[in-house]
């Protein structure tokens, strides 16, 4: 066995909520949440990303495909797909959709797991071990 145990993962299984309020107007804020979510999900953490406010626009068809956090960088949709593959659950805030003229039946990308009420976010926050806001 290696002497340096820092290389080994030994965390308990936990639940983390990432509250995503950033959207296309602040592209530099739109990749890290998914990167972090993917790492945590790979560590057996139950990760929920809840999109609200401008964050819901990232779940609108054609938006996350169209820009990157940094010029010339990987598209946001690919960060989203990496997070999904790692096991992250994506919730979209239903009350936020009308303000951005997003139709929940026709305009959301296939990666969305749940269209959720605010009460779902409240439940997630109350039962989670950590909440991270971007």
């Amino acid at each position: 066995m290696a002497d340096n145990m820092d290389h080994y993962l030994d965390n308990d299984e936990k639940t983390v909520v990432i509250l995503m309020t950033s959207g296309p107007s602040t592209p530099h804020r739109c990749a890290t949440p998914f990167y972090l979510g993917a790492i945590m999900a790979s560590m057996d953490v139950e990760v929920h990303v809840f999109f609200t406010m401008e964050g819901v626009r990232l779940m609108q068809r054609g938006v996350a495909e169209s820009f990157a956090a940094m010029e010339g960088g990987k598209k946001i949709i690919d960060f989203i797909r990496d997070a999904k593959r790692a096991g992250v659950t994506l919730h979209v805030c239903q009350p936020a959709l009308p303000g951005y003229k997003i139709d929940e039946d026709n305009d959301l990308i296939d990666e969305v797991d749940e269209v959720s009420r605010a009460s779902v976010l409240a439940d997630l926050v109350l039962r989670s071990d950590n909440v991270i806001t971007f």
Binding site: H7, A86, G87
Partner: protein, 148 residues
Amino acid sequence: MECNGCEFHSELYYDSEYQIWLRREHDDSLTVGMTDISQTIAGKILHVRVRRPGTVREPGKPVATIESGKWAGPIPNFIHCVIVEGNIEVLENPVLLNSDPYNAWIARVEASAGVDAALDTFLTGDAAHEGYCRRAREEDIHCQRKVR
């Protein structure tokens, strides 16, 4: 053997998406590594962490996590197994996964139901080669093993 410049070893065992390879060792443990396709997609790998030795892993529970500059995610696991050890060379120098993906194993595991039962669920030989090449062609993946 190569497809689109992606190295392939017919004696190894692969999952259906050719993300990982498994090699049966003399003591019937299994070493786990990333395929050339996987390391190419990930880009320069900066950090690897393996589950602590002795940890039981169920199918779907990763054996390790990988971080590169543009990608973060699991080394997927498809079998019920126990972690025996991580490859300390790779843990201390993760870029070996890019430069030499088939020698730079990540973890060694013991299959709970026996090695034969575990390997039954993986692809090897000509069938694996065909699927590996198909993925490289269909996704237009051209592998690079130089340290980036």
